[in-house]
């Protein structure tokens, strides 16, 4: 099969430009179209008190009043104090839809999902194994021809 490298490079450039344009549009407009206030809004002076927010993070402390979760947003660690009994243990990951109170408190939880730490690590492990397996099979069926800059079937 005849391969026209320059036409392929042209298509790749067009696609990269489209990708860049769409990702710019996404990053500019995403904030405005969110159903719940983002972390950026929570961290801003326009703190959305008494509004329903979506937050997530790892449980770092549990006490009789509630529990604390930590989330890293743009290298800024935010600690939320969730009032109520903790459904998760230390290190577990929780996603919460709840009402934001003062000082990063979550006053009432409307919806919560817990991913236990061991289940999350197990998920990562089996996904990593799947990826390794897939790469091995891929290289079994395909080889890269440097001269043509293409993968060819073995």
């Amino acid at each position: 099969m005849k391969i026209n490298i320059s036409s392929r490079i042209f298509i790749i450039i067009i696609l990269l430009i489209s990708l860049f344009a769409l990702s710019s549009y996404y990053s500019f407009e995403h904030e405005k179209n969110l159903e719940y206030p983002s972390y950026e809004t929570i961290l801003s002076s326009d703190y959305p008190i008494n509004k329903v927010v979506y937050v997530e993070g790892s449980v770092i402390k549990i006490n009789s009043d509630g529990y604390y979760i930590i989330h890293n947003y743009n290298n800024h660690e935010i600690i939320f104090n969730v009032l109520g009994q903790s459904p998760a243990g230390l290190g577990d990951h929780v996603s919460i839809l709840g009402v934001l109170g003062p000082s990063y408190q979550i006053l009432s939880v409307k919806e919560i999902r817990v991913i236990f730490d061991w289940k999350y690590k197990f998920l990562l492990l089996r996904s990593f194994l799947a990826l390794t397996f897939l790469l091995i099979i891929f290289l079994h069926y395909w080889k890269f021809k440097l001269k043509k800059l293409t993968f060819e079937g073995r």
Binding site: S23, Y25, Y36, Y54, F122, A130
Partner: protein, 164 residues
């Protein structure tokens, strides 16, 4: 997300079942669909980047949108001899990924399936993202279809031998 075993197996199952009828869905192209089924999860690279203190959380989630995955599939397909077939199979994988992800239980927002035309999000809230029983069932089904394929192939070979 369902784990990557589920995504890979679903893409395999779709292609392997179609291969019973259509030779185009052979192993080489099936692998491409399996690769395509992981493309939307490029944003999971954040897990690796975060270990090195690099935060791309504002940039990478964009890739978990169908249109972005289709474009990435388009770029990758340029590195294959038959780019149209490569693109088609990568897209089959991408679609299977979003079908599976839309089944997930999601707190907050779901998937932007129709971006850039709509900001409406979708999720069906049927499967827990960390449920490994789903993985086991899909894995079992995959082995079943794989061995069924081998059995049918052997049967055909035997018939051909008898006919000769």
């Amino acid at each position: 997300m369902p784990d990557w075993i589920v995504h890979i197996c679903i893409a395999y199952l779709v292609c392997r079942i179609l291969y019973f009828k259509y030779p185009l869905f052979g192993p080489q192209n099936t692998i491409l669909a399996m690769i395509g089924s992981l493309l939307p999860d490029i944003f999971k690279l954040q897990i690796i980047f975060s270990q090195f203190g690099i935060d791309l959380i504002d940039f990478l989630p964009f890739f978990h949108i169908p249109v972005a995955s289709f474009i990435v599939a388009g770029i990758i397909s340029q590195f294959f001899e038959n780019k149209r077939i490569a693109f088609s199979f990568l897209v089959i994988g991408v679609i299977s990924h979003f079908v599976m992800d839309s089944l997930l239980i999601s707190v907050g927002e779901g998937l932007y399936l129709f971006f850039p035309f709509s900001w409406q999000t979708f999720h069906l809230d049927l499967i827990s993202p960390d449920d490994y029983w789903i993985t086991l069932v899909i894995l079992l089904l995959t082995f079943l279809v794989y061995f069924l394929g081998l059995w049918i192939k052997k049967k055909h070979q035997n018939i051909q031998l008898i006919e000769k």
